[in-house]
Chain length 257, copies 2
Amino acid sequence: MMIKKPRILVTNDDGILSPGIKVLVDIVQKIGDVVVVAPDKPQSGQGHAITLEYPLRLKKVNLFKGIESYECSGTPVDCVKLAKNIILKNLDIDLCVSGINHGSNASINIIYSGTMSAAMEASLEGINSIGFSYLDYSFKADFTNCIPYIEAIIYQVLQKCILPSKLINVNIPVGEITGIKVCRQAKGVWVEEFKEAIDPRGQPYYWMTGKFDYHDRASDNDLKALENGYISIVPSHHDLTHYPSIESLDYLEKIEL
Amino acid sequence: MMIKKPRILVTNDDGILSPGIKVLVDIVQKIGDVVVVAPDKPQSGQGHAITLEYPLRLKKVNLFKGIESYECSGTPVDCVKLAKNIILKNLDIDLCVSGINHGSNASINIIYSGTMSAAMEASLEGINSIGFSYLDYSFKADFTNCIPYIEAIIYQVLQKCILPSKLINVNIPVGEITGIKVCRQAKGVWVEEFKEAIDPRGQPYYWMTGKFDYHDRASDNDLKALENGYISIVPSHHDLTHYPSIESLDYLEKIEL
């Protein structure tokens, strides 16, 4: 009996040269037929940006032994669109995995994250999609502890095929892993600080930095799970409607001119 | 009796020179104390992108008579962050309005839209925020029909102050306006087509284009409201958790190594 191997698309936002994507490719190449399409440079914080005003470049590269791989000049979402339309020519994709991101995409970071936006783009196309992030920002991060869990999550998702919203946001804590919690996105906010300075030509500039502020002390959210050493898994989706508000906005329907 | 005028932040994604933002500034300057911070160039499709790898520039401009205005080198979300932190130095902002976008941000377009992402960024900060979009892509669009409705919506939101999710996505149809519907985001998907060509230096490139495919025939969504001549208002938010899925992902919590 021949069983068809699943077709798996790999992408990220840290760029095709980042250590995190290498770890992810090593995991999935044992599981399925893999195609890699990832940005040719770091694209952190690109959110769901797409490239409309410029042409996109796609270059075949030989970075992962035996794996069809391309670097793309665009955003993570562009990578998914090009993978689907140009490289795979609308062949079925069984799974899209994005990451492993260097740094957290828990809480509201999902909104800014190119890693998660790439996975969301695939999920919009009906493809089961997983974004993986490891809470160590360093490019020298040691992913050893993550690997068996990532492998197990991918196996389970492919086998059970239960992802009603087609998308999960997986964040992995540093250190010993207690287990896995399926939970909701924590409330939080970035408190920006802009470094103000003068450039060599005498012009002022502002450089964004900031601290994440976490004010959601309930026990059922992803940040709390991570604090307690759990891998957090948040089922996510692209319907941004705030359903509980619909009725309370009646007053806007009553506007008459 | 002196009543404090509301402080209103105006931004967009089509750039500070676009006709749509001029119309919006003209409307809100009758209502409140206005500050404009908008991109110095078109930023359509920038989604929730932020600029981390480069410095940002901010330049005071004199485009709107008597209104404090700045053009910014970054994305629409960068504009909101700079407005809040640098220009208004964390003063209270009573309302953020974004647009008027040239073209629809209904259905899933909210995800790709810089206009809506800017409004969402303000809502993340607890500011009542409204994104306005007009379903005419032309820079020669005639906004006359929109103006009284936009004015009335802004007045109502400022007066009633009922926006539980802090964010609404307002889309305005072309032609005669039947009324206003508060509704949910329609399901839909972009079907991309990439124009493949060879550049003058002999290298291949891909240029993204596409058609929007709308397969949500229910009557309670924004695209249907717009088809029927209504202004659609979708209360929106940044919690991407798909709550109904949490229980069905039990199988992932059971993973043991």
